[in-house]
Symmetry: C2
Subunit: 245 residues, 2 copies
């Protein structure tokens, strides 16, 4: 065995993953976690040396990430980390509200007993997990993030469109990126659980309008908080992105 040493299992089914997929997931996590925002340009060689893989698999990973909008691509000029901006955050939030509203309405309209149970379960878990990491207050609790994401995914999972679910997922990733970036110490106190409970209860009651309103409020509040932080950290010309081209 010469290369590809760190591959045990990928999805629990015992199927071995490719190096390309491994790099993809790692790099994606780093991108979303805001671990490498400092450099706008992403040199292949740099990724190769950091993640220990050849150019080919790295390049595959980069291509996937570019297709998802996390990276940009210029033929013959490599990849770059997609820049962030206030207007992009607005557009993202706007789109997210549109899609999630539709998804939630459909989900409620076609809800099943199983969906209700999953939702109750997701809400319960959300109540258990704490928002902030117990160790560092400057980063969110990864466990909470996981549960949180599951909650929102379950919420719209009955909408009868894997396309729509996928799109919402994708937007969710980008929103997560902004949230991570804007996360240096909590600002306003916020009762996360109450917000989610309001959404879930309305949904379970079949009150689509109420659920949608609560969901949109939830997203917009989050966006507003991000925006505030975003605007603060913008003027000092901090370690944000650099030369674009």
């Amino acid at each position: 065995m010469t290369y590809g040493a760190a591959n045990l299992s990928d999805d629990g089914t015992g199927a071995k993953s490719t190096l390309a997929s491994t790099v993809y997931h790692q790099l994606r996590d780093d991108l979303l976690g805001g671990a490498l925002e400092t450099e706008s340009k992403l040199r292949v060689e740099w990724v190769v040396s950091k993640y220990g893989a050849g150019a080919s698999p790295v390049r595959e990973a980069l291509n996937r990430l570019a297709s998802e909008g996390l990276l940009g691509r210029h033929d013959q000029r490599g990849f770059f980390i997609m820049p962030v901006s206030a207007t992009e955050l607005e557009e993202l939030t706007r789109t997210r509200c549109w899609l999630e509203e539709r998804a939630l309405r459909e989900s409620i309209a076609h809800r099943t007993a199983e969906w209700e149970e999953q939702l109750v379960l997701a809400l319960h878990r959300l109540g258990r997990a704490s928002r902030l990491s117990s160790q560092s207050s400057s980063s969110l609790n990864p466990e909470w993030e996981k549960v949180h994401r599951t909650f929102h995914r379950v919420l719209i999972s009955a909408c009868r469109s894997h396309w729509l679910v996928g799109f919402c997922d994708q937007l969710s990733d980008h929103a997560y990126r902004y949230r991570q970036m804007a996360n240096d110490g909590e600002s306003i106190q916020r009762d996360d659980f109450a917000e989610h409970r309001l959404i879930a209860e309305n949904a379970l009651d079949g009150n689509a309008d109420g659920a949608v309103q609560a969901l949109i409020d939830h997203y917009q509040l989050t966006a507003a908080m991000c925006m505030e932080r975003f605007r603060q950290g913008e003027a000092p010309a901090g370690p944000g992105q650099r030369a674009q081209r």
Copy 2:
């Protein structure tokens, strides 16, 4: 000059494209055009020999296509052409109607003079291009397809969300694939231009409800026609897809 010989310009800006991008576009066209539906499994070696490129660029192209849902991927087992089905067509159409409705409403709500002009222009061009190819009746006129796509893109272009436009584009690609597949000789006569004119005129008048209704009718009629053909060609077990795994 040893490899990468067939690269003049890609986007008209004089920028040279990568082999990966070239293969991506070609393969994508073939996929959408229904040129190679016969084999569900897509061997890298086959693509390499057909498109004249090494494994690395081909693989990149495959990865991009997989991210768009045109191909599927199983780590260590390669890529396969995404199967088609009646239920998938339904889901696709449903999602498309949801997204395009929202996009159109927003587009109308935020329309500008330039948007109106582009729309008028797109409609005019649509009237000029004929639906069927002059040569072969079994394939659609590529010029018409181009103009048609432009029309629909323009229609929603003022919605203030590149995300939404992108999603609609993606769904549009998949719908196109189904349309191509279901295209062996015209069935019902259909006044395409009248349908599009109805949409455009309502949109230009600011009549969102009317425009949306016309647009949805348009999509659903198309889907219904595809579905009909689809069901016909299903029983004979024609040269459709083969072994899945």
